[in-house]
Amino acid sequence: MDITTLGGQLLGIIPLGDIVLYVTTFNLFMFAAALVFTVLIAMSKTEKQVEAEFGTLNDREKKVGKDEFKVRRFLSIICGLATAGAMITGDLFNFTLFVTLIGIVNIGIVSAVKEVDVLDSAFQYGIIAMLATLPLFGGAALILAATGTLSMFEIVNIPSTAMMIFGSILLFIGVAGESGVAPFFATKAEMFRTAGSPFLVIIHLSSLLVIVRAIEVILLISKPF
């Protein structure tokens, strides 16, 4: 098995010491998608949520204030760049760092919102994300101990051992917790009820793209073939 089995054609490598970044069709598509969304978020305004007020003929309008807008946009851009980094990196430790950064800024993006339900949800997600750092970094550490390298370009050529498979399972649990996908999605869904569409989309985008990349990383490490 090699890198092209999963990601399609190898378009190029960027050797940085023992860390070799590689670009396959799959990585490039995900990287480009993350960057396109980040650019759109940087230039987009937020929507206004308008709802009919119950019992009167008035409308209720929810919008994002200027100060809140600036903070959330900054954090969203950081999140987008971290996601793009996680898509293209060829180093396992960098991947875990990017995933952790995504977890932190995801909480930051909604923590400026003054809504109790949203803050509760962000708090619960934060707890899960913090707990998930243990299997995330633990998994990467086990893989380093078992292989002597964190470069995925090297790891793919090392026959998998029980410790590498165990490490990759821990890594997957860590990524699932950090990105808040199933079975942890219930902690995160309420965060999306607030206004600020462009900022919320990066929370969802980062979770799904990281999970898809994590599948590639885990299959490269555990190598069922």
Binding site: L6, T25, L40, K48, V50, A182, S197, H204, V212, P224
Partner: protein, 288 residues
């Protein structure tokens, strides 16, 4: 054939066939419910109509996301056609395209400022938790065949027989995914359920809606194409067409005869099917 001509031809076929398949689906549903139903080319006519209608933009929309998101939706499914029928590339890339489709559903809903769109956006987050495990069927295919390249999977089936007989539970999962992406009264498609009008599409008008409708047709074609390719192997164009018509008619019958589930029931149904499919397929691969 020239690559660009190949892409254009395949995208056009995907759009036209997908549109007509929608018509067949609505016709089947209507006949089951003792209605005459719309003409089979209705989706095509609607798409054309939206391109000549005035495009209006809500004052509440998040610009330019509200506009660009429809183009992104179209672009990712054109990319899917390139990865699928044109180059027979990696399945993992199709997985990524499907993940971005969920993001687009999310943002198309929330960027308009409409409460219906917003509910659809929140439901897109919920349903992603269930649909992505269903799409994990592709990982099971990888475990069985040892490759993610569509061309090699087709070659594997030419040698070992169609995967539908080896991995029936994985096929069931994929059918559940297709039902969840079925646009007309699907029991599992909570992002477009009629209790929230048209979900994330509610506030997109004119040309923007036209782009969404083109994408819907291509999405439907591609989901059926991927199913037929990974579970039946190399088929002739005629067999693809027959397979797609049969699947569409079957799903039309399912949609006509089942209630639209609420979000919690829909997600739990999909997660249950995914659990049975993934665990069952792995057991079957190693012990049968």
């Amino acid at each position: 054939m020239n690559l660009m001509a190949d892409i254009l031809l395949n995208v056009t076929i995907a759009f036209l066939v997908g549109s007509v398949l929608f018509g067949i689906q609505r016709k089947v549903m209507a006949r089951i419910q003792l209605r005459p139903g719309p003409p089979i080319i209705q989706h095509l006519l609607h798409t054309m109509k939206f391109f000549i209608k005035e495009t209006v933009f809500p004052k509440t929309a998040a610009m330019p996301f509200y506009v660009v998101i429809t183009v992104i939706l179209c672009a990712i499914w054109v990319a899917a056609v390139i990865v699928g029928p044109v180059t027979q590339g990696p399945l993992l890339l199709l997985f990524a395209i499907f993940a971005i489709h969920k993001i687009v559903e999310h943002n198309a809903g929330s960027s308009s400022g409409s409460p219906y769109g917003k509910l659809s956006c929140v439901r897109a987050v919920f349903s992603a938790a269930a649909e992505l495990p269903l799409f994990a069927v592709l990982i099971i295919i990888f475990l069985q065949t040892g490759t993610m390249q569509l061309s090699t999977i087709v070659a594997y089936q030419a040698e070992h027989g169609a995967l539908i007989f080896t991995l029936p539970l994985a096929a069931m999962m994929f059918i559940a995914l297709i039902i969840s992406k079925s646009y007309y009264y699907s029991p599992l498609n909570i992002t477009l359920a009629k209790d929230i009008v048209s979900g994330f599409e509610t506030e997109h008008f004119g040309m923007l809606r036209g782009f969404i409708m083109i994408s819907e047709a291509i999405t439907w074609y591609m989901l059926l194409w991927v199913f037929l390719t990974v579970f039946f192997g190399a088929l002739s164009p005629l067999m693809y067409l027959i397979g797609m018509v049969i699947l569409t008619a079957l799903i039309g019958a399912v949609n006509a005869l089942t209630p639209i589930l609420n979000p919690n029931h829909s997600v739990m149904t999909e997660i249950t099917l995914a659990f049975i499919g993934i665990v069952g397929s792995i057991i079957m691969m190693f012990y049968i």
